[in-house]
Symmetry: C2
Subunit: 212 residues, 2 copies
């Protein structure tokens, strides 16, 4: 288990050491639901390995992807949700096999007091999440479906460091909060335009630059 990536947020080895001492580690399999309604009242979770997909779910069961929590990052929402005891309406699912370190809130507050860098780390995360939520709002409010699909694929490709991703139209539609037929229709259209190449359970990016 490594916390190296925390260094990106200027956490010192000393802090990491304390986190490891204070925290309780827990493992999740791909697809495991980590937060559904309001869990983890007294701890802040840090992803030490793997990644988590965070979604907003509507009353009628529809969902939309908000952001991913990657290695070295924390799930701010469930922290805040827990802290103020209301139903968070955010759902977090393990994207892959994932290790999470749960730090009790008192310890977090102690760390904040002792190490300003730790507070800095938290603020940076907040900032990142805010920006990501704003991106989602922007996409949903102003972008058309084809552009959103393309963006999603590009993001996935970046994450996977590859031009090809394995995903079904069904899954894609769920993440974007639309219907499978819509995705299939637009993807086919994009294939005709030479933007992507389609296969069963497979999408290959051909042109990275978005043609407007």
């Amino acid at each position: 288990m490594e916390l190296g990536q925390l260094n990106e947020f200027k956490a010192t080895p000393e802090i990491n050491e304390q986190l490891m001492a204070f925290g309780t580690a827990k493992s999740f399999k791909e697809g495991d639901v980590i937060v559904n309604e309001n869990a983890y009242t007294n701890a802040i979770p840090i992803v030490t390995n793997g990644s988590i997909r965070v979604m907003r779910s509507d009353e009628d069961g529809r969902e939309i992807l908000l952001y991913y929590i990657n290695k070295g990052e924390s799930c701010i929402m469930s922290f805040l949700g827990g802290m103020h005891q209301d139903t968070s309406k955010v759902k977090a699912v393990a994207e892959e096999a994932t290790e999470i370190l749960f730090i009790p809130i008192e310890k977090v507050l102690y760390l904040i007091k002792e190490y300003p860098q730790w507070l800095e780390y938290i603020f940076r995360l907040y900032h990142k999440r805010f920006e990501e939520l704003l991106e989602v709002i922007n996409a949903v409010a102003f972008k058309k479906m084809d552009e959103r699909i393309l963006n999603f694929i590009q993001k996935k490709c970046e994450m996977a460091q590859s031009k090809t991703i394995s995903i079904t139209h069904e899954t894609l539609s769920l993440e974007l909060g639309t219907a499978r037929v819509v995705v299939s229709r637009l993807l086919k259209q994009m294939e005709d335009e030479g933007l992507v190449k389609l296969g069963r359970n497979k999408i290959t990016l051909i042109q990275t630059t978005i043609v407007k």
Copy 2:
């Protein structure tokens, strides 16, 4: 100038006193743009009087309302944006005559260290903003325009403590990120259904319960 409402967030009179001492007050008229791109690099703004409207603006000039910052609250976004020096793409405009107290970041960090309640206050605000952004995402992603319009009117009525609000269809459409005609059309429809009563520059809520 009063900071009473801060008490809602458990800030003690002692903290308030210090804030007043540390901060620089500034006044804004209705419609004044407070943040456009990335301003206020070294201060956290607290609304001591009036209220601010925060919007996300698209590249093509379209906008959508995110939330209001009321008396006693702080503009978290511009704080974070300033802290990490990137263009925040959030626009803040004074809804009415507004007084803002700018607290230098060092002082904020000092207060956090000295008074845990202050950190609690900030976390509460973050939480609130997150929830509000999630509400926007939910609305834009899953709700139909008529429902969004009704929600907007209800929120406004609550704020104004009245069943009638003064707003033009034009303004309403801009806040919701749609076109005026669409708003007029749907409002008329809602009037026919007996949900609202329309006048020039005036909308009156008739039925508070949403009929589905």
